[in-house]
């Protein structure tokens, strides 16, 4: 069957970089951040495009974020998405992931779909909740940490990764939501002509009114949520760090391995 697939993607600060906390201690400093597409979302997009190529259908990418996220959406189009929608939800910090997930759920509801894919987690805040909140809000069956997707007729099966290398295979009635694990596929690079073409493609913007709300505040739930403070991690200082250049550190490493009895050559 031809599939209408929605992929929810997020643009995150590259977590490999260093971060500074703002003077108020309420957020990281965002003036000079380098943003990129969340890793697991790249796999989710690739899986969606492969399903479309095999079974026919349409892939729509959706994000909730400021204008800068349009670049990520254009990349997704260049990699095979048919349409891109930006939910104009401009909270750069967005620590309340439940609230963003409810906004995404409202947007997903307004787009015809058989399958919704998200990454298993975003590498900035590592909540692992967005996909499943969307699923349960819309009443769709779901499976998380998915490492394989198979569609046979209208029956969808998914491999879920458990701990210790074990997996379980589950049947997921559609419409369904899957959260996609790293390594499920090898995401493609966008060909240059596709990048050129995507640069000209319009990106649809979704406002609260489009999903029947007066403002995004309508998606705050019946609880209060507040960031109390951000701090650098307490250094346990366990590691004895060796200084010096390569030659010095190599001598120290060799000495350490001998002293501890790990090398008896």
């Amino acid at each position: 069957m031809a599939l209408n697939i929605i992929v929810c993607v997020k643009q995150i600060p590259n977590p490999d970089l260093q971060f500074q906390i703002n003077a108020e201690g309420t957020d990281i400093r965002r003036d000079a951040l380098n943003y990129r597409t969340n890793g697991a979302d790249e796999y989710a997009l690739e899986e969606a495009v492969r399903l479309k190529e095999k079974h026919g259908g349409r892939v729509t990418v959706v994000t909730a974020g400021p204008k800068r996220t349009e670049q990520m959406l254009r990349e997704a189009i260049a990699k095979g998405a048919d349409e891109a929608i930006r939910i104009a939800y401009d909270d750069p910090a967005a620590y309340d992931a439940m609230r963003v997930a409810r906004v995404l759920a409202a947007a997903v509801k307004s787009i015809p779909h058989d399958l919704v894919l998200t990454g298993v987690q975003s590498d900035d805040y590592i909540h692992s909740l967005t996909g499943i909140v969307i699923a349960r809000t819309l009443g769709h069956p779901h499976a998380s940490v998915v490492t394989k997707v198979a569609l046979d007729g209208t029956t969808l099966t998914a491999n879920r990764e458990l701990e210790g290398g074990d997996q379980e295979v589950v049947t997921v009635p559609m419409p369904a939501v899957l959260t996609i694990q790293f390594g499920i596929n090898t995401p493609r690079y966008a060909p240059l002509p596709a990048i050129m073409k995507a640069a000209r493609q319009p990106i649809k913007e979704l406002t609260p009114a489009a999903v029947g709300a007066s403002s995004w505040d309508a998606f705050a739930a019946g609880y209060t949520f507040r960031v109390r403070r951000l701090t650098p991690p307490e250094s346990k200082g366990r590691a004895e760090i060796f200084a010096g250049g390569v030659a010095d550190q190599a001598k120290k490493l060799a000495q350490l391995l001998r002293e501890k009895g790990f090398y008896r050559g």
């Binding site: 490999d16 906390i21 909740l129 699923a135 879920r160 609880y223 701090t231 590691a239």
Partner: protein, 322 residues
């Protein structure tokens, strides 16, 4: 009663996830603050693990054929009945594959606030204060949530110490809940175990693991040579097995193997939580990473901060020249 803390036990193939006892420990400390006790929800079919759990806390057990395998809908139905019956102040689950799948669904179903992947939880009066580590563990954030509804939280494995058993066993209460098989959501088809044809890194005395810091697949040869010189085996962090530079059987961490060798050397591994949980109990841990702020140095005993691709050949030369 209203101050009780409910812990959702995680188990598979008749075995409890060890980190369930960490939830019990955290549940005890929260219950002291909220004026209640810890209760453990055990959902399954024919599992004989209730007495073992009762050594640690009161157990509320639901046994039903439709709970033989985990399903989000089956667990939600059983937990709905338990929550109706005990009205807990907070519900704790593991930040695990099952926790990812279940906790967010419960939050929607119970209209409850959820904080995931917590490393600490305390009550400040009626407010729940959750501590989380974000951005590759480089920033710690404290979140306050306040609600009349029960709080839901998932807790990162190995963040707190496991509970000690009680002086004498607590009670096991069997609850009868009829599970509607039409509302299981995704349903279990079969289990798949990894095929073991490769060496078992879990039994080695020395494991030398490679991460993204080795840059290119061809540099694995260097790590292999170093491991061989020490009589050890080569492990890997997740990105390397995802790229298929090494088979999945070599992956150290939460979704791979847990290893406790006498010596663990992390070569170009940043030390994400998923990796660290699989190697933190090694006897001696040596980390090599050019980023001195990498979280791997939090668990390592010794740290080297030069390029691993230059350090290993130089160290081998030193060792061989004896």
């Amino acid at each position: 009663m209203a101050g009780d803390i409910l812990v959702v036990a995680e188990h598979r193939d008749g075995k409890l996830a060890g980190a369930t006892f960490e939830l019990v420990a955290l549940g005890r400390s929260l219950a002291r603050q909220s004026g209640g006790t810890v209760k453990v929800a055990l959902l399954g079919h024919g599992a004989a693990i209730a007495p073992r759990l009762a050594e640690y806390a009161d157990v509320l057990a639901v046994d039903d054929p439709h709970l033989e395998h985990y399903s989000p809908g089956g667990y939600e139905q059983a937990l709905h009945a338990i929550v109706e019956s005990v009205s807990p102040r907070a519900i704790l689950l593991l930040h695990s594959s099952q926790g990812f799948d279940l906790a967010p669904a419960l939050a929607v179903a119970f209209d409850a606030p959820l904080v995931t992947n917590c490393v600490a939880l305390v009550f400040d009066g009626p407010v729940l204060v959750a501590t989380r580590k974000i951005l590759n563990d480089k920033v710690v954030v404290e979140i306050e949530v306040s609600s009349e509804r029960p709080y839901l939280a998932t807790v990162r494995p190995a963040a707190v110490k496991a509970a000690e058993p009680l002086p004498s066993s607590a009670t096991v209460t069997h609850m009868h809940v009829s599970i509607d098989p039409a509302k299981l959501g995704a349903t279990f088809l079969r289990a798949e175990k990894p095929e073991v044809q490769d060496i078992d890194i879990a039994t080695a005395d020395i494991v030398v693991s490679a991460g993204r810091g080795i840059k290119e697949k061809k540099n694995l040869a260097l790590v292999e040579e170093f491991a061989k010189l020490l009589g050890g085996v080569v492990g890997a962090s997740r990105p390397l097995t995802d790229m298929e530079w090494l088979p999945k059987t070599r992956q150290v961490g939460q979704s791979g193997k847990t290893v406790r060798p006498k010596l663990y050397i992390a070569c170009g591994i940043s030390g994400a939580m998923q990796h660290v949980s699989g190697m933190k109990d090694a006897g001696t841990i040596i980390a090599i990473n050019t980023d001195p702020s990498a979280p791997i140095f939090e668990v390592a005993h010794y740290g080297f901060t030069v390029n691993v691709l230059e350090l290993l050949p130089a160290a081998m030369k030193e060792l061989r020249s004896g």
